[in-house]
Symmetry: C5
């Protein structure tokens, strides 16, 4: 069986190498996937990066990794990148799992690295589920699943 191409798009701007964590996680979980990594300068370059992987590299899905800085301007960049990723998905009819970690999400370096690693690995598993195990997702609908933090869980009456 042919392997399925999966794009891993990340940036030189990010201060943690989440692409590496994604690749480890996916290679550890499955042999049915061919990973194509594409590194772009910044977060706003991610949408076209995914577009190129969909169009030129026949990727079936992408994961887009970004790490916006703490300033207000950085929030705007992340917002623009997110809008672009959504439009790219609609143009391609394919999923892009957005995995962004804001630099102010962690209070210490260790905390931030932990969030990045956890979110990257969990979203890597979401990529695999969207390809091979959609039932898992359906069975966890409304379960308050989180990435980067512990699950929030279902709200109980």
């Amino acid at each position: 069986m042919n392997k399925i191409n999966v794009g891993v798009v990340d940036t030189t701007f990010a201060r943690v190498d989440m692409g590496k964590a994604v690749i480890h996680e996916i290679e550890n979980e499955t042999t049915k996937v061919n990973l194509i990594r594409y590194t772009v300068p910044g977060i706003k370059d991610l949408p076209v990066g995914c577009k190129i992987l969909f169009d030129k590299e026949e990727c079936e899905i992408c994961i887009a990794l970004g790490m916006p800085g703490p300033a207000e301007k950085d929030k705007v960049c992340a917002h623009e990148a997110s809008q672009g990723l959504i439009i790219c998905q609609l143009m391609s009819g394919k999923h892009i799992i957005e995995c962004f970690v804001h630099e102010d999400e962690g209070e210490t370096s260790d905390q931030l690295i932990e969030i990045c690693d956890d979110r990257a690995r969990k979203h890597a598993r979401n990529v695999i589920r969207l390809l091979f195990d959609k039932l898992w997702l359906q069975e966890h609908a409304g379960c308050g699943i989180r990435q980067g933090f512990p699950d929030a869980g279902t709200i109980k009456s």
Copy 2:
């Protein structure tokens, strides 16, 4: 007569299973519909989820269920998702009923669950009306109909 495919797209991020409420409501109301459920990780994955159901599963309409968290960042995600759902509708020429409940809409867990259930069921009925009973909608134009809360009603002079 062939059944009409209706997409129910929801998330593992949500903390209440609104998809279940939608499915109960629609199955209770009509036998003319074939429900296709598709669960994605988060709210920003909903637009392409609907696009895939329109393109690959021949859905005539979708309902998109999401539950943004209480933080400012979550509001931005909901905004991006809403924009994507509107663009998806324009690309497909088909309705997506957006049914979002913000986690801060209810003050207690019970209240939040009640809002989710009410909004999901009422919007499920809107899906059915858009398919089979557009006259009901027209007869209630300007009537201040609400989902999740009691109707606001028409403003009287």
Copy 3:
């Protein structure tokens, strides 16, 4: 001569029946138009409502009527709807006259009803002018014409 199809798209969410005012105004002004009314649940359903009227009902122009609530969240919905209406126009190459009244524009119920009625009727006349009397618009360029309120007028030195 064949009549021209004009779409009137409104919502069950609105608390004043502006569609009725539009229909009265247009029927009173011209017999050259065939009105097609389409009522959707909320303001964010208006863009695809217009798209469907352009594509399936051969409308030459639409008027989109909405009444966002007073909360911040409602302003965001109105913003998303407006963006969608603009994209819909660009995709179709046809005008959609947006006629929104924010629930906090009037201080009393009577005032709000009056604003709705005035804005709906004046924008109904704009629809007619875009179809049959573009010269009127050109002759009033820069004249500070308003809908819902008295004209602001041209600024004099």
Copy 4:
């Protein structure tokens, strides 16, 4: 030689007739242009107005004139219109020079009229340069050129 069609799109909402200033300026500067004026009700009608001039009237370029009011709501309208103008340009592969004057840019009526006139005339000249004299623009790259106000100039070390 055939004249080049240039669209002048303005609104009845504006309180100063900038279209007139644009037409005077262009007619005074060149005889190689055929001006097509199209007046729409408000600022959010400008994008499709330009689209129609590109598609139906074979315009090579448009200038879009608008005058948003001073309220927060008006700023949002201007933002939506600007986004639409950019999308319209990308769809058409043609320039639209946006010439907006916010009603709160001037402190007195005279000041506001002066800003409108200056910005309209200078942007009219930008239209001509984009058609016939791109070198002028290139030679003034980074020169801090302004419209509506005196040039800011190049920053000197």
Copy 5:
């Protein structure tokens, strides 16, 4: 071997000539590139400027240089321009490296000029890397690379 066309799109609004710095940097680094400069009036004209270079001048990549002013209104313009640049990239399937310097990023004229020069030259090198040396980018993923300022570096535990 045919040279690759690279677009350099800048504005007359900017107060520093970043286009010149980009051209110096690229001509100094490689002879495999043919530079096409296109100067437009303002930042919101950049997206269609790039679109024209992609469609009419067969550019493989563009760099878009802009310098928004310090006012709130200027931030909105920059946001609209960024959104347009992302949509343009998605339509073309080609990269546009956005190089914006906000006028309030530097406290003195000298500082601002230095930021402009540094960001322009470093982004010029990013253009070259995207064309000829994608491996460099991949090897620097997550390294906290910055333009206009010193690199932030990888976060260490």
